[in-house]
Amino acid sequence: MNAAEVRSGKHFMHGDHACAEGAIAAGCTFFGGYPITPSTEIAEYLARRLPNTGGVFIQMEDELSSIASVLGASAAGSRAMTATSGPGFSLMMENLGLAIMLEIPCVLVNVMRAAPSTGLPTLPGQADVMQAKWGSHGDYQIVAYAPSSPQEMFDLTVRAFNVADRYRTPVLILADEVVGHMVEKVVIPPAKQIERWERKRPRQMPGEDFKPFAVEDDDLVPPMVHAGEGYRIHFSGLTHDERGYPDMNAETHHALVTRLSDKIERNADEIIIVEEEWLEEAEIVVVSFGCTARSAKRAVREARRVGMPVAFLRLVSLWPFPERRIKEIAKDVDAFIVAEINLGQVSRELERHVTQRVVGVNHAGGKMMSPDEIFRAIMEVAGRGNGHRQRR
């Protein structure tokens, strides 16, 4: 990474552009994508930037090929990404599964809009949370971060590349239209302060006995070999053994699929990020992510001002779900409120992990959730009606 390529300094920056700058700062050298609102500005920005930084920008014929090109570029050693929104995200589910199966690192940004189908292309939604987790066929664990600001569009994109490379996995950025199109202060650190986690590489030389899918370490991540390095490797989307060869039986399949899942779960503590505020002596916890977390924080602050024992929990990473931390928090609280622009996807997940009451604040999408809506929910859960009375 050439330091001159990182635009260090303070900027007033668009969220999608901040994501693109995060990619450049992370050393991304390949973008394959297809225009779709509200993520198009990422592609437009990288179409200008990548040719100046020695990278490749290509506009593909659709999202099926966009992610396929990204996987090919990454398999050849590039840090590679694509960006899309719901309809394109649906098409990418096919090769998201291939990325999981071949353990090819990549970053996939979904700037969520209101859905299903074409929905509201220019307006926000947060309803792709479960698609992100379960959208491709089969069992797997996914990594997904949900930025709440243009600053986080930058920071989490850098992190996404690092996590992708360290664990040989696709990493999703589940942004939303509000954060993608918001213009706000973004601080880009000096190049030398930008952390870089490298891919694990084989200890053997080409020609020595090397199995490209054999695990040598506790993190369950096999070393990555790139095309053109002389190892003469085989990668197959079929169930494969440690050499990468198709091996059509239940035992190999079970071992492979459980390792792929365990790889993420075992390293979850290093992947998960949550933001917590005011948890001491709280009785109610408001859970949120992405743009909704901005309203939720305001609502929690207002409720605390009128004496409500309420805390703020933001899921900076949505997947893997921070179930251990949530179970710890749950020991000392009475209820959770989950605010999200969908009909209850994170609330349902939360209900699996806690015995406390879980109340959703939801709408289907098309507008940002107001702090008022979340404030009213806090008051109702606290047994304070419409919020006019103060708690003693």
Binding site: F57, N95, I233, S236
Partner: protein
């Protein structure tokens, strides 16, 4: 004349095939092995260092070839071999990237990627085994099944016209398009080698018997019978209008083969701005 049994320890292609993966899955009479052999021989003849060869396949019988070649090989998703290969090629332009796949994979589910890769004229070589049907799943009709031919999903005869690959690829913008059959191993090998060196998008179609999938429904009982059919009816003519090279195995029309397109349009290059 007496015949003597000779035991040999090695095969000339041992260095390029994954011996532990052999025997392959191809049925008796299948033509894919012939095309794979031609590809392997072209690699050995190319003089390009072995570590610079990459093969990418989609799904289907031809898609299994990636697993048999002892070079860097990727067996990807159905239809997406070309964009995956494109990503490799753009990330490492020094590599010689080949897509080896079947007609259903390349022309149906991957058809959009095929024409767009040809339009871009991206520097890839695509070897397409065309056996007129989906063989691996048991003989269903596809976009190359001749009009009127039978298949398990066209039990009353195929009501659709097939894609005419040379016409399609020529119109889309490929720099090199040829068609041979498994009766023409020498020409296949020569054209693969030629395509390695040819900048831009190259497409080599090889008509290939599938007695178990296609043949059983169309009175072509074994691979040899189809090879004889090719031998009798193939006509090398690179000047024939491409509109006329659609394949009809059941009639007595010629099956045109040869190098149909060989031009030098500018291949795709990513934009680089030097500051």
């Amino acid at each position: 004349m007496e015949t003597a049994i000779v035991n040999v320890d090695s095969h000339p292609l041992d260095t390029i095939l994954r011996q532990e993966r052999i025997p392959h899955i191809f049925c008796p009479g299948c033509g894919i092995g012939i095309v794979m052999h031609c590809y392997a021989q072209a690699i050995l003849d190319s003089g390009i260092p072995i570590e610079q060869h990459v093969v990418v396949s989609g799904i289907g019988c031809s898609g299994r070839v990636a697993g048999y070649m002892e070079i860097d090989s990727y067996h990807t998703t159905h239809g997406r071999a070309i964009p995956f290969a494109l990503g490799i090629k753009l990330a490492k332009p020094e590599l010689n990237v080949v897509v080896f796949s079947g007609d259903g994979d390349l022309a149906a589910i991957g058809g959009n990627h095929l024409i767009h890769a040809a339009r871009r004229n991206v520097d890839l070589t695509v070897i397409c085994c065309n056996n007129f049907n989906y063989g691996m799943t048991g003989g269903q009709a596809g976009p190359t099944t001749p009009y009127g031919a039978r298949a398990t999903t066209a039990p009353y005869g195929n009501p659709e016209h097939p894609f005419n690959f040379p016409l399609l690829l020529a119109a889309a913008g490929a720099n090199f398009v040829s068609r041979w059959t498994t009766m023409h191993p020498h020409q296949i090998q020569k054209d693969i080698l030629y395509a390695f060196r040819k900048p831009g998008f190259s497409f080599i179609e090889v008509l290939s018997p599938c007695p178990i999938g296609y043949g059983k429904s169309n009175q072509i009982e074994d691979g040899v019978e189809e090879m004889l059919l090719y031998k009798e009816r193939c006509k090398i003519d690179k000047h024939v209008p491409l509109e006329d090279v659609e394949i009809d195995l059941s009639s007595n029309q010629p099956i045109y083969v040869g190098r149909f397109v060989d031009r030098n349009s500018i291949p795709y290059q990513p934009i680089r701005i030097e500051e």
